[in-house]
């Protein structure tokens, strides 16, 4: 188990190093005056696929988007509960099936309420 994570960790280390190489190289070449530095306002602006950016990136969001975040957390936790159930399922049979069915049925009440209140609608 742990050496599979070790391999993933190895990949993670490389995934961090690769984007760091050009950034560090750019700064280092700038420090030693090898890289020319001719900044102008257009070069320094944020690249938005060639469009001129309008306003600030950090606008204030509408509160109604918060409910999607909250619902996401609930479904995320639900998935975490169901995963060990799925792993243990094979040995346990029908009993495990009804166990999870009750679990889902209780959650479905909340889901139906959310649907009824229109919380699932993207505005």
């Amino acid at each position: 188990m742990i050496d599979q994570f070790g391999r993933a960790g190895f990949l993670l280390v490389f995934a961090v190093i690769f984007p760091l190489i050009p950034i560090v190289a750019s700064v280092a070449l700038g420090l030693f005056k090898i890289r020319p530095s001719k900044p102008d306002p257009i070069k320094d602006s944020i690249y938005e696929c060639g469009m001129v950016p309008i306003g600030d990136a950090q606008v204030r969001y509408n509160v109604r988007y918060y409910v999607f975040g909250l619902l996401f957390v609930v479904f995320d936790v639900e998935a975490v509960f169901l995963y060990p159930w799925a792993v243990a399922y094979v040995g346990l049979g029908v009993y495990a099936f009804f166990e999870a069915l009750i679990f889902m049925a209780i959650l479905f009440i909340g889901y139906a309420y959310a649907w009824r209140k229109g919380a699932m609608e993207w505005l």
């Binding site: 188990m1 742990i2 050496d3 994570f5 070790g6 960790g9 600030d56 950090q58 606008v59 204030r60 969001y61 509408n62 509160v63 109604r64 988007y65 918060y66 409910v67 975040g69 909250l70 619902l71 996401f72 957390v73 609930v74 995320d76 936790v77 639900e78 998935a79 975490v80 509960f81 995963y83 060990p84 159930w85 799925a86 792993v87 243990a88 399922y89 040995g91 346990l92 009993y95 495990a96 166990e99 009750i102 679990f103 889902m104 209780i106 959650l107 009440i109 909340g110 889901y111 309420y113 959310a114 209140k117 919380a119």
Partner: protein, 170 residues
């Protein structure tokens, strides 16, 4: 099982990253950046769980804390007016310092006071399957109660945001 050196190296890298990110969370001035550093801290903690062979806890940590909780926090920051998004000086700084100092003292005391016995048992293979069996056999009731809790959280979230929305419209 990777040779012990690998685990030790991984542990030190992960601890260093976790602590550095935790310090940056407190030090950084922009709240959005603080949330991102907090997410990295959660990922580092997940890495330490993996070093302890607690694979399921690690995945749950990434899924819930690094994934969902940091999304919620980002949302919370984005809901505040842009002018308030600074990690500025507040009157809570002194009490927070005292509180975290006390917490540190308690943790250090527990670490020093505990008699760290080394278990002869081998490393866990996978923790998810045994957790699943525990959910379905001795802990059936807590498992179902958890789903009631999630339902309450879902309904509560909708009720609260509905109220906020009405305030927002008014």
């Amino acid at each position: 099982m990777i040779e012990d050196n690998g685990i030790v190296i991984a542990f030190w890298i992960l601890s260093a990253t976790t602590i550095a990110c935790a310090l940056m969370t407190a030090a950084v001035r922009e709240l959005v950046q603080a949330v991102l550093f907090l997410a990295l801290t959660f990922v580092g903690a997940a890495g330490i769980y993996i070093c302890l062979s607690a694979d399921f806890v690690a995945v749950a940590q990434i899924l819930i804390y690094a994934g969902a909780v940091s999304v919620l926090m980002t949302f919370a920051v984005m809901l505040t007016p842009a002018a308030d998004r600074h990690n500025s000086e507040t009157i809570f700084q002194a009490p927070a310092l005292v509180l975290s100092g006390l917490l540190l003292a308690v943790i250090v005391f527990v670490v020093l006071d505990t008699d760290w016995a080394i278990s002869d048992a081998g490393a866990f293979q996978t923790t998810a399957a045994s957790l699943g069996e525990a959910f379905l056999k001795p802990y059936v009731v807590p498992f179902e109660v958890a789903s009631v809790l999630l339902m309450v959280a879902m309904i509560g979230a909708i009720v609260l945001t509905r109220e906020l929305e009405e305030d927002d419209d008014a």
